[in-house]
Amino acid sequence: MQSSELVGRDLGAVSFPVDRSKVAELARAFGDEDPAWFDTEAAAAAGFDGEPTQPTITVLGDHWREGGALAHAEALQLDLARLLHGEASWEYLLPVRVGDRLTARSEVTGTSTREGKRGGKMTFFTIETTYENQRGELAVRRKDTLIERGESA
């Protein structure tokens, strides 16, 4: 199949909770000891109206997708051994709080090909995901570029 035929492909939706434990686990993984990531009272004492979350909190959806972080690559039938994550970007419209429930909806919005430096065709896939909270408000938009490297010559 031509990669351009994938533009507009619906990659499905997943709904997931933003848990205190996962925010704390991410903070530990990031070497970030600020107590606001770990403790409700520390967040309140700092002046937050609720408990804040990290800029990459949207990764939590991967725990709830069949196929996890590779779900989109698998849906596009990419060769995982040749897969690269090229870019990721987020636009924040509303704060995401511990206790929120987010619904992520993903779609392929673009594809392109380019000759790789070491030969072989590289294929680029742009995937856009919206995250709506439990009140139906759009909280975050995310865009990812996945790259499938060419077969090595």
Partner: protein
């Protein structure tokens, strides 16, 4: 830190000027445990990041870190600098893989000020290894305090 129970995350937008720098941060040397801890937290169980025989079977010297680990660390450093609620946009471009033993440095600075319904600062951010190998280039946009 005098009181370990006190958060230092900014809540309200902070004042920033062109040239202001993000507090420097270093992470590492990276271990396989760091990759596994992030896999559990973030949900990326691609075997190439934790299964040594699988990674070597794919022709790699060892497992390597998921790009979202340094991206996440960078995000948390930016949040600690400008305040998590004040971040309006964050974009990362992965330029190199991270390997066990790498030490990563995180830096950033204000490159421009503007206004989009509120005062904003544009930030340029860089992650590299202590050997100077590029890992990630990123940009961010933050709401900032109005200047007098």
């Amino acid at each position: 830190m005098s009181d370990v129970s006190t958060s230092t995350l900014p809540v309200a937008p902070i004042a920033l000027a062109v040239g202001d720098e993000m507090p420097a941060f270093e992470f590492g040397p990276l271990t396989r445990t760091d990759f596994v801890r992030y896999a559990g937290a973030g949900g990326d169980f691609n075997a190439i990041h934790h299964d040594e025989p699988y990674a070597q079977g794919a022709g790699l010297p060892s497992v390597f870190g998921m790009g979202m680990l340094p991206a996440g660390i960078l995000g948390s450093r930016v949040a600690a600098w400008v305040g998590p609620d004040n971040l309006r946009a964050f974009a990362v471009r992965f330029s190199g893989q991270v390997w066990p033993g790498d030490r990563l440095t995180f830096s950033g600075r204000v490159t421009a000020l503007g206004r989009e319904g509120e005062p904003r600062a544009e930030l340029e951010l860089v992650v590299e290894t202590t050997k100077g190998e590029p890992v990630m280039q990123a940009t961010a946009e933050a709401a900032i305090a109005a200047s007098d």
